[in-house]
């Protein structure tokens, strides 16, 4: 089977400074189902979007049957025989099922400038019946149908013209068991007709079962391509998540006892669709790591503790008995939060460093209702300098700072507030090694001073290196707990994550 239908040659896709796909050369054979796996942000979806003409590549190219494929839109890719079923809904509301099916192909039904809607509906219905989706009526508005039915319509849309390459991008998560079976039938049929299916999924068992070969991406790079008959899910997990990273800048102590004093108690915490029935304690001077795959709900835990989640149930109780139920309340009682989404949730980027640092502490800085701007300036300057924020002055806007410096502003504001509990979500995300080391040193220092830290992170090395205790989450629940230990390794965590 050396006849590759589709080949990517040194493909790169960059968005600003981040490289989503990094030098990926891959071959897809005729008549195979090729699994594509990797963590969130590993570049799977970007790779396929580039293939289907949604983004142009930054460098490198795709070859379809030996000829360069340079699609500028999805419709153009379709015409070359490449089609995609996407993660999000790919149907347009406000149009009929038939109009959605033939989007971009309306010319087929045009008589001069008049569209033959009847012929379009009839053809669409014929296709739907052929796939066995007889309950879907082609002339109805798409809005009438459920999310799952729309996915089925998309499947028809992506496959009715018998494409040479079909991309299925995490569609199974939106489908029930019966819907999945329908999709797998369509995939198998495409393979038996000698076409190629690229299958992206988070469910490793599913991928091993369905795919002939599997390629693993990590941080935009191709890690390996393996035959699915020859691997187990354990091996794939390690290929997906394993990282080579030095450990020298983490804290080095092991076996230091953590005081028994509980400063925060989380009781049966739930957020609809995100986390379910979480209970755990945070102790004084402890760094509690929370890890898992990106979508496991761990990022919502931070928001829920901070009183920022919508529809939260359960209790978050502080040492003094205060139950956190709103952001201002959390801040007042010494809880700090740094979001993973730094630019939208942690700092007001279109505002000055001064205002950003002072905002949570305004009530402390006020005498009665009144504030003195001299006092605010001094407060902001002192804390910015404490964190050595690189700036031209406290009047500078946060939008003009680098990611690392923005994070320093976030930390500066909470240092200024002197919060006792810091919830840090992905504290070193997108930050260079130097600032990373500064942040780890600060966390260690805070811990020694008796501050407690909840560190939510997707980086396993960081969790292993910094935490006194690690909670691993899977599908919104805690799936494992580990105490700090030299012998603890990535593999131990991964088995509980996937």
């Amino acid at each position: 089977m050396s006849d590759a239908v589709l080949r990517s040659e040194r493909l790169c896709k960059r968005f600003g400074i981040t490289t989503a796909v990094d030098d990926v050369s891959l071959e897809f054979e005729k008549g195979e189902i090729h699994g594509l796996i990797g963590e969130n942000g590993s570049g799977k979806s970007t790779f396929c979007s580039t293939l289907c003409g949604i983004y142009p590549p930054s460098s490198g190219r795709f070859l379809l049957e030996g000829k360069e494929l340079k699609a500028r839109s999805q419709v153009e890719a379709n015409r070359r025989g490449v089609s995609i079923i996407v993660q999000e809904t790919g149907t347009l509301p406000g149009l009929t099922v038939a109009e959605n099916l033939f989007l971009g192909e309306e010319d087929k039904f045009m008589h001069g400038i008049v569209k033959d809607a009847g012929a379009m509906d009839r053809e669409a219905q014929r296709l739907l019946n052929e796939y066995g989706f007889t309950r879907i009526v082609a002339s109805r508005m798409i809005d009438y149908y459920s999310f799952e039915d729309r996915k089925l319509i998309e499947i028809v849309k992506a496959t009715y013209f018998n494409p040479k390459v079909l991309v299925v991008d995490e569609t199974t998560t939106a489908l029930s068991q019966s819907g999945r079976e329908e999709l797998f039938t369509v995939m198998d049929r495409a393979r038996s007709l000698g076409n190629t299916v690229i299958f992206i999924s988070h469910d490793l068992e599913e991928v091993i079962e369905r795919a002939d070969r599997i390629s693993v991406l990590r941080d935009g790079r191709l890690v390996a391509t393996v035959r699915s008959a020859e691997v187990g899910s354990g091996e794939l997990k390690h290929l997906m998540v394993g990282r080579e990273l030095g450990t020298h800048y983490y804290r080095t102590d092991y076996g230091e006892p953590v005081p028994d004093e509980v400063v925060l108690r989380v009781d049966d915490l739930s957020v609809p669709g995100q986390i379910q029935g979480l209970s755990f304690d945070l102790r004084k001077g402890e760094i509690l790591g929370i890890g898992g795959l990106s979508e496991c709900g761990m990022h919502e835990v931070g928001k829920a503790i901070f009183g920022a989640s919508f529809g939260r149930s359960g209790r978050v109780t502080l040492e003094d008995g205060y139950g956190v139920d709103s952001i201002p309340g959390a801040i007042r009682h010494g809880v700090a939060y740094a979001s993973k989404d730094r630019d939208n949730e942690s700092v007001v980027i279109a505002d000055s460093i001064r205002d950003n640092i002072c905002l949570p502490s305004l009530d402390d800085l006020a005498a009665g209702p009144f504030l003195r701007s001299g006092k605010l300036d001094a407060f902001a300057r002192r804390n910015a300098e404490l964190m050595s924020v690189k700036m031209t002055g406290i009047d500078q806007y946060v939008s003009s700072l680098s990611g690392g410096n923005r994070q320093k502003v976030v930390l500066a504001r909470w240092l200024g507030k002197d919060s006792d509990i810091l919830v840090l979500d992905s504290p070193t995300r997108g930050i260079d090694v130097k600032v990373k080391a500064d942040i780890y040193a600060l966390m260690d220092e805070l811990r020694r001073k008796g501050k407690s830290i909840v560190m939510i992170s997707e980086e396993l090395q960081e969790l292993l290196g910094m935490s006194d205790r690690i909670l691993i989450m899977k599908r919104g629940r805690i799936s494992g707990e580990f105490a700090r230990s030299r012998s603890l390794g990535e593999r131990d965590l991964i088995t509980k994550m996937v």
Binding site: I327, N344, V348, A350, D355, L362, F370, L371
Partner: protein
């Protein structure tokens, strides 16, 4: 070498920033100079100055409320109708006591502002849509009440048409507003909410509550200004106060107020903007005697000023 160039780049950015902040003031002086020349110095004649001053008060006070609304990223088109309706309330109540009349007018304004705020916050409708709707709604009420003729004020009210009193009231209002803006957390909160509502929420501000209060305050402030309006005009017709909303918006933008609100809002925008607008309003009839031409020129001047002063940088940050 490198450090030097970095320093000079920083310097350049800073001086550009100061220039931008000075733009409205330069614009104001430019307008004065231009019209002094065009009218042969007539605009600075005492009679004209006092005419101008008599038009300033209501605009100046009402702009303060809309200034806060715009800082959080909203717009308020219902101000003129609020002025009309609260003027009527003042006329009714002032028969008993003028002070009670002022209080009632401010309360009525606050209620109308709260109405705006409630629909904006509770139902997440863009503020310009809510306030365009309430502009018609309040105006409708105003016209309904005045169907059988204008609502007159009691004669004692007209005796209060004293420059020193109006000046004093405007100054007190302005100083109170400035103190609240500058020396309490209100200014900080509103700027942050306008610059990034989600991040402001995560910093401990309460955006929904603040926005509701800001609309309520804007209504109350205009309600208060209706006293000065009644003192000047004497009786309230169905169209009383109409066009105030556009005057306020034009004044604020002339004063350098960023349309998208946020951290670049300055209290001085209110004062410079109102003065620039009033100078324009007073001088145009002297230079262009035909009203149609005045409108034309006003529109052009406004467009040119906005084009020159608009801050593209701050617009780019908005998502």
């Amino acid at each position: 070498m490198e450090i030097q160039s970095e320093a000079s780049a920083v310097g350049k950015v800073k001086s550009r920033k100061y220039l931008r902040e000075l733009m409205p003031l330069l614009g104001f002086m430019g307008v004065i100079v231009a019209f002094s020349i065009a009218t042969g110095g007539k605009i600075t004649a005492p009679a004209n100055l006092s005419l101008m001053l008599s038009q300033v008060y209501v605009l100046l006070i009402s702009s303060m409320g809309v200034f806060m609304v715009m800082t959080v990223g909203g717009l308020d088109f219902s101000q003129g109708s609020i002025l009309g309706l609260s003027s009527i309330v003042f006329c009714w109540v002032s028969g008993h006591s003028i002070v009670a009349g002022i209080a009632a007018a401010a309360l009525a304004g606050a209620a109308m502002g709260a109405f705006n705020g409630f629909f904006h916050v509770r139902f997440r409708i863009a503020s310009f849509i809510v306030t365009i709707c309430t502009m018609y709604f309040f105006r409708g009420l105003c016209k309904y009440i005045t169907t059988n003729g204008p609502v007159p004020a009691i004669p004692e009210v007209l005796e209060l048409n004293l420059t020193w009193l109006k000046l004093l009231l405007a100054a007190v209002m302005l100083m109170t507003g400035f103190a609240v803006w500058r020396f309490t957390r209100v200014g900080c909160d509103l700027r942050a909410i306008g610059a990034g509502e989600t991040a402001a929420r995560f910093s401990g501000c309460r955006p929904d509550l603040r926005k509701f209060l800001v609309f309520t305050a804007a209504g109350a402030i205009t309600g208060f200004a209706s006293f000065i309006n009644v003192v000047k005009v004497g009786s309230i017709t169905g169209t009383a106060g109409s066009q105030l909303e556009t005057q306020i918006l034009i004044a604020l933008v002339l004063g350098g107020m960023p349309i998208s609100g946020g951290a670049k809002a300055r209290f001085s925008n209110i004062i410079i903007g109102t003065l620039t607008y009033c100078v324009l309003e007073m001088s145009l009839p002297m230079v262009f005697p035909i009203p149609a031409t005045q409108q034309l020129v006003k529109g052009m001047v406004f467009l040119v000023v906005v084009a020159l002063t608009i801050d593209h940088e701050s617009l780019r940050v908005i998502k």
